[in-house]
C-alpha cells in the first residue's frame, strides 16, 4: 500500500500531463507538436542507434568531465582561498567579475584560445560550473566553527590532516549546495557549447533538427536532455544522502528542539 502510494506521487503528475498532451494533440494535428505516440517512436528511431554513439555519449562524456573537473578545481581553489585571508581579499573582486560573466559569451573566446575541439567544450562547461563550487567552498571554509578549530589544534590535527578530517567534512554541506547549482549550469553549457562551430553532440543535433523542420526529432532531443537532467539529479541526491547523512540528522535534531 505504501509503495503504491509513493509510486502514485512519483508518477501521478507526469501521467496527468501526458494525458493532457495526448488529448490536446490527438484531435487537431499540429505540425509543431507531435502526438505522444509519434514522439515515442521517433525517440526510439532517432536515439537508439548510431546517434547514441556519435552524439549522446560524447556529449554526456564532456558534461561529466567538465562538471567533475569544475568540482575538483573549485574545491581545491576554494580551500586555498578560504584558508588564506590575504588571498581571499585579493581574489574576491576578481571572482565577482568572472562570476558575473555569462559563460556563453566565453564560447567565441575559448574557440580562439583553445580551438574548435572537445577541449573547448569542456572548458566552456568548467568556466561556468566552477563558480558556484568555488564560492561555496570559500564560504564553507570561512565559516568554520572556531571551537572546532581549537579542538583540532589542541589535538595536533594540523596541515593536510586538518583539511581532511575537519575542514572538508565541515564545509561539505555548503559545497554540495554549490555542486547542485553546477550540475544544472553544466547541462545548459553542454548544449550551448555544441551550438557553435560543431558537427556532433546533442546541442548540435537538436539545432540541426530544428533547422531542417524535423519537428518530432527535435522534440525527442529535448526529451533526451530532460532525461539526462533527471538522471543527474537522482545521482546527486543519492550521493548527497550518503555524504550528508550526519548533516540532515543534525538539522532534524536541532529543529526538533
Amino acid at each position: 500500500m505504501k509503495i503504491l502510494k509513493s509510486f502514485g506521487f512519483l508518477l501521478g503528475l507526469p501521467l496527468i500531463l501526458l494525458a493532457w498532451w495526448w488529448l490536446a494533440t490527438s484531435g487537431a494535428p499540429n505540425f509543431f507538436v507531435p502526438t505522444p505516440a509519434k514522439l515515442v517512436t521517433t525517440f526510439v528511431e532517432t536515439w537508439f542507434g548510431e546517434r547514441m554513439l556519435t552524439d549522446v555519449l560524447p556529449s554526456i562524456m564532456r558534461l561529466v568531465i567538465g562538471v567533475l573537473a569544475a568540482i575538483v578545481l573549485g574545491i581545491v581553489l576554494g580551500l586555498a582561498v578560504g584558508l588564506n585571508r590575504t588571498l581571499r581579499a585579493v581574489t574576491e573582486p576578481v571572482f565577482e567579475f568572472f562570476r558575473a560573466l555569462p559563460p556563453p559569451v566565453l564560447v567565441p573566446v575559448l574557440m580562439l584560445l583553445v580551438g574548435i575541439n572537445d577541449g573547448m567544450k569542456v572548458a566552456v562547461i568548467i568556466s561556468g560550473c566552477i563558480w558556484p563550487v568555488l564560492l561555496n567552498t570559500i564560504e564553507g571554509v570561512r565559516s568554520i566553527d572556531p571551537v572546532q578549530n581549537e579542538t583540532s589544534r589542541s589535538y595536533g590535527i594540523t596541515g593536510f590532516s586538518r583539511i581532511r578530517y575537519q575542514i572538508l567534512p565541515s564545509a561539505t554541506p555548503t559545497i554540495m549546495a554549490g555542486v547542485r547549482q553546477a550540475l544544472s549550469i553544466g547541462l545548459i553549457l553542454m548544449v550551448i557549447s555544441e551550438m557553435f562551430a560543431s558537427s556532433s553532440g546533442l546541442g548540435f543535433t537538436i539545432v540541426q533538427f530544428q533547422r531542417s523542420f524535423a519537428v518530432p526529432e527535435m522534440w525527442s532531443g529535448i526529451v533526451v536532455l530532460g532525461l539526462i537532467g533527471v538522471a543527474l539529479s537522482f545521482i546527486f541526491q543519492w550521493v548527497q544522502r550518503r555524504v550528508l547523512r550526519w548533516y540532515h540528522g543534525l538539522k532534524e535534531v536541532e529543529n526538533a528542539v
Binding site: Q148, T151, S154, Y155, G156, Y165, W246, G249, L250
Partner: protein, 287 residues
C-alpha cells in the same frame, strides 16, 4: 565562625625547581583591539605537581578561559611563560588534552562517537589495534561503551561531554585541561560528571586543571583551589582542600569542613569582585 582557616597561600604556590609538571610564570595577556588594549591577565604564577587535581575559580570575566588557552598553547601570552615538564609551551603540546565547555561544537558532528574518540589517535599515527583498545577503554571509563556507533548529536548534553572527556582520556595526556566543562549541562548530570572526573583522575593518575566559576564545584572536585582576582587577573589565593579523598555528593557536601571552605572561597571571590587585590601580588606587579 570559629574554625580552622584553610592552609592558604597569598598568590599562587610554586614548587622547587624540577618538581612541577606544569609551571605558569608571570603570565600576562593583553588583547589589542581597535578600541584599545584590554588586559585580560596581568600576572599569574603557580605550579601544578604531577598527579594533582587543581581547580581554578574566579569571578566571571576574570580571564579564566584566556589563561587556560595560554596554558594549552592555543593563545600566545604577551609576556611570561608556561612550562610543561620544563619545556616552554609555544603551541599545543602533545602531552596535553583540552575539554571545552561547548561540547556540541567541539565534537565533530560528521563522526560517530567512537570515531571522534579515535581521531586524535589516528592523526598521531597510533596503530589500529592499539587505537581500538584505547577507544574502548576510554568509552568504558566514561560509561559510554554501549553507543560507539551513535552520532554525538543523537546523545544528551551530558553524554556528549562524556564523549569529549573520553576523547581527551584516550589521547593519554599528562595534563588534562578543562574549561568550565559542565557549565552547560543540568545540575543532576553535572553531579555525575563531577564524580566521573574524580574517578578518571584517580584511575589514570593524570594531572588535571579544572576551570570553573562554580565555588561548590571547585571545592568538591579539587585537592587544591586557586582563586583568581577580577580582571586584570592575578592569583588571589591558593588554598588546599583538606577533604577526605573519597568524595560523595551527599556526604562530602554536608561535611562542616566543606561548608567552612565554601565560606572561605565565597568570601574571597566577593572580595575579588569588589576589587580587592592581595598586596604581595600587587608589589610583584609594581616591581
Amino acid at each position: 565562625m570559629q574554625s580552622e582557616n584553610p592552609t592558604s597561600h597569598k598568590g599562587g604556590r610554586t614548587l622547587p625547581e624540577g618538581q612541577a609538571l606544569l609551571s605558569v610564570r608571570g603570565l600576562k595577556k593583553v588583547y589589542h583591539t581597535d578600541a584599545g588594549d584590554i588586559e585580560a591577565v596581568r600576572n599569574l604564577t603557580f605550579d601544578l605537581g604531577r598527579g594533582e587535581l587543581v581547580c581554578l575559580v574566579g569571578p566571571s570575566g576574570s580571564g579564566k578561559t584566556t589563561l587556560l588557552k595560554c596554558i594549552a598553547g592555543l593563545l600566545n601570552s604577551t609576556s611570561g611563560e608556561v612550562l610543561l615538564d620544563g619545556q616552554k609551551v609555544t603551541g599545543p603540546p602533545k602531552k596535553m588534552a583540552v575539554v571545552f565547555q561547548e561540547y556540541g561544537r567541539s565534537l565533530f558532528p560528521w563522526l560517530r562517537v567512537a570515531e571522534n574518540v579515535e581521531l586524535p589517535l589516528k592523526n598521531a599515527g597510533v596503530p589500529k589495534e592499539e587505537r581500538k583498545r584505547l577507544v574502548q577503554e576510554a568509552l568504558e571509563a566514561v560509561g559510554l561503551d554501549h553507543v560507539p556507533k551513535s552520532y554525538p548529536w543523537q546523545l544528551s548534553g551530558g553524554m556528549q561531554q562524556r564523549v569529549a572527556i573520553a576523547r581527551a582520556v584516550a589521547y593519554q595526556p599528562e595534563v588534562l585541561l578543562m574549561d568550565e566543562p559542565f557549565a552547560a549541562v543540568d545540575a543532576q548530570t553535572r553531579a555525575d560528571l563531577e564524580d566521573l572526573i574524580r574517578s578518571v583522575w584517580k584511575k589514570l593518575g593524570v594531572t588535571v586543571l579544572f576551570v570553573t566559576h562554580d565555588i561548590d564545584e571547585s571545592i568538591y572536585l579539587g585537592e587544591r583551589v586557586i582563586i583568581l582576582s577580577s580582571s586584570p587577573t592575578i592569583v588571589q589565593e591558593d588554598i588546599v582542600i583538606d577533604l577526605p579523598a573519597e568524595r560523595d555528593q551527599l556526604e562530602t557536601r554536608s561535611l562542616p569542613r566543606f561548608t567552612e571552605l565554601r565560606h572561605h572561597v565565597y568570601a574571597e571571590i566577593q572580595k575579588a569582585k569588589q576589587g580587592h587585590r592581595p598586596e604581595e601580588a600587587i608589589t610583584m606587579v609594581a616591581k
